[in-house]
Amino acid sequence: DTAVSQTPKYLVTQMGNDKSIKCEQNLGHDTMYWYKQDSKKFLKIMFSYNNKELIINETVPNRFSPKSPDKAHLNLHINSLELGDSAVYFCASSMGQGAGSPLHFGNGTRLTVT
């Protein structure tokens, strides 16, 4: 019954590797997001997709590439991982961006780059 599910929950990898994080939502929402939470718990938007189209692309290194095969999925691929990429990555979804549509977050993927 998980509304927004992310896999894997933990990801430990070495510098220079390429990795992907998958996200799926079963809420019927049309907008999905990736947020990065750093060690100080600050949540920063990375990307947002609406109906599979990119609508928000914050200043994120182009090593990060989101992919949305359909409205229910938004995956995050990271190339050439760096130490500074270590963080918790949260996927979220909403129905549009209206005030009546809160964000529903997954439980996060803790990425550790060694």
Partner: protein
Amino acid sequence: QQQVKQSPQSLIVQKGGISIINCAYENTAFDYFPWYQQFPGKGPALLIAIRPDVSEKKEGRFTISFNKSAKQFSLHIMDSQPGDSATYFCAARVTNSGYALNFGKGTSLLVTP
């Protein structure tokens, strides 16, 4: 650039006390102000939200106070309980603008028995 400033960074309150977390913003176009609650190992979850056309919203023990002229809003947790121990984030957004929710830096609340 931090668009929503939150304080304090951490807060310790005794059981039964009132927890107060404050946020301030600069962008007068913001028209939606939610608070999210995050427990360890979990994603943030919406707690309560307010629009700028009202000055207060109450849901159970949780109240948002909103001061449009001062560009400030706060979360009050009445009769705080140990189960309320979590990180709280204020946020703000211009709805339907294509801009994402801007979060404050979070407040770690500990309610002691």
